[in-house]
Subunit: 348 residues, 2 copies
DNA sequence: TGCTCGCATGTGCACGGTCACAATTGTGAG
DNA sequence: CTCACAATTGTGACCGTGCACATGCGAGCA
């Protein structure tokens, strides 16, 4: 049969309808599996679809239903392990529910860039937004633009939404700090993340809360930029200027850089200094010594974020969710305060 | 004025037209900046748009023009640094050109999952595809489905497209291997990536070519899975079974795991064994010792991929492209063959 | 037998843009 | 002042799908 002449447009429901000898509406009903369709008719239509290699046109569907089935993901530094992993998980979960994911990466996060990225996502008529690794500025813009779609944010402090995830950050930081205190450390330095990141701020908060609970003193944390390079330089600086026996770094990368600086200075870890990181990136267990850190279930966080967003969007779909708990993973980079160090402490 | 009654639908060009006192077509002309429009009219329309907070509906545009302005990115293991970074670069470049990016991550890469992910992207009527970190199977599926849109692939071997990028992988591997040979190493082991990844295969090819050019012998490479954990176990196994003075790992993660194994065995790097990685991930410079590796410009690769795709898609837009060259970064993990080792070699 | 009811299917239009093709207005030459 | 022609603007159809609202048809019942 030469029923399918060149016709370069992709086949539409009408083409399918013609081939199956029904009206386009009946075909549409099959697509949305409407209950009242005779089995034989349905079979005939399905076969016609198969024959024509029919693929529903999402744009047309979006236009007519007013729903795009697309969600947007706004992410800063998506090349970092944690965010990247969560994005992948979100994408996966979304695809499973038939949603498309449109991403926008923020390089520099000046308000103009943020607005630009958001506009881009809104242009696509996203039905919801996931904000990853949010900085306060992002929420300012979000509020200023008066976004019409629901959004959730990962790893925030609960200021704007998801309390559950927020608790994790603070709790995780407390666990890390507690671990060091339990080992006898009294002079603990916090190598913090950039404070305009809610996530970094929450971790610092957890650190300070735990220090406070233990009635310890601490110098103001060092504000870093998440990078291993910064960790390295901060380490050099610390060695020059402060006395301390342990460091809690706000993420693994900085912890690894710090480790490097300590090696350079011929100091032993954990002999002279103990180090704890945060995130448990895959290489954390292979540094020398292996890094004690706080494990985060990034996949779970991503899935939870999507599930929460789905609920927020008021779709009927309810995806089961479970709260995400951080987990302290003790490896070789932490140990008791060295005896040799105890007298030193008396100086203060 | 209460011209804007509730009317919950978003404003359309017709609403704008009414407010500006022109026809919808004139508004459309403004959107596509058609040349012949009186300046005063244009200004009036722009103001009306502003007033109504008008935002063009992409779905409608896609429907009527038959173009979605969307490209798809198919990626395996997008949580890895390199791919993640390239994806971000692609996304950025695409956004700049007004394109949307839809991503699909491959967890396990069985043909069914690949097909599923591709179908998902095609459902969105993507105009082009970027395949990242391709495995041969992906291309099989791609060919079987007889995809109608152009695609480019990152870091392939040139079998399917982009020769320029392919050369990089082989060249980079040769540079790494050459470096070890120049240092006097004769027994070099290659810790390869999974061979169904074209990228891994290319690196192995580069290694073998260089070994061959130097008239050296080598045992068959060890086939890994890219992970640091694998590098660690491979290291333990190597120490038990083989004699060697240097290892070229197909990526940094495996190299770091290997480093860990050597530390565990109390071997010195580079005193006893030299190690080279591939990728130059951010922590590579902070391992102990800092890792000698082959730097790849992932951002550049991403941009190049998008530019190439744009050309492939036959859009008028020409984005300037520059070939990407790998760069050997010599750090502390490589050094001359230890004298103590030379006699040992005679045994073979 | 005639009537109601529910299932299965069909008809026509709306969604918000773009396109092809008028229709109108403005401009300069003869 | 008229006409040809360009510049500007308007009209109506169409893209592929879903919705509201018929319509046809057989079963059940009085």
């Amino acid at each position: 049969m030469s029923a399918d002449l060149p016709k370069d447009r992709a086949p539409s429901i009408r083409d399918v309808a013609r081939l199956a000898g029904v009206s386009h509406q009946t075909v549409s009903r099959v697509l949305n599996d409407h209950p009242s369709i005779r089995e034989t008719t349905k079979a005939r239509i399905l076969q016609a679809m198969e024959e024509l290699q029919y693929r529903p046109n999402q744009a047309a569907r979006a236009l007519s239903k007013g729903r795009s089935r697309t969600i947007g993901v706004l992410t800063a530094s998506s090349a970092q392990y944690g965010p990247a992993r969560s994005v992948a998980a979100i994408e996966d979960a979304a695809r499973r529910q038939g949603y498309f994911v449109d991403t926008a990466n923020l390089g520099v996060a000046d308000p103009a860039a943020i607005e630009d990225a958001l506009e881009h996502l809104l242009d696509q008529a996203v039905e919801g937004l996931v904000i990853i690794a949010p900085q306060e500025r992002v929420f300012d813009v979000l509020e200023r633009l008066d976004i019409a779609v629901p959004y959730v944010s990962l790893q925030s402090t609960g200021k704007h939404d998801l309390r559950a995830l927020a608790a994790d950050q603070i709790l995780g930081a407390r666990m890390a700090t507690r671990h060091l205190i339990d080992l006898g450390h009294r002079e603990i330095v916090h190598l913090a993340g950039p404070q305009d990141w809610n996530e970094a701020e929450a971790r610092m908060r957890g650190f300070l809360l735990e220090i406070d609970d233990a009635d310890l003193m601490t110098n103001p944390p060092i504000l870093g930029d998440w990078s291993a390079d910064f960790g390295y330089f901060a380490g050099q600086e610390l060695l020059r200027s402060r006395d301390f026996s342990a460091v809690f770094a706000a993420n693994d990368e900085m912890a690894l850089g710090l480790l490097h600086a300590l090696h350079d200075a011929r100091l032993s870890v954990p002999g002279d200094v103990s180090i704890v990181g945060f995130d448990d990136v895959p290489v954390a267990s292979h540094s020398w010594p292996p890094l004690t850190t706080v494990h985060q279930d990034f996949d779970g966080i991503g899935r939870l974020a999507f599930a929460t967003l789905l609920r927020e969007m008021g779709t009927g779909v309810e995806v089961p969710t479970a709260p995400i708990a951080p987990r302290l993973v003790v490896r070789g980079s932490t140990g008791p305060v060295p005896v040799s160090r105890l007298p030193l402490l008396k100086r203060y």
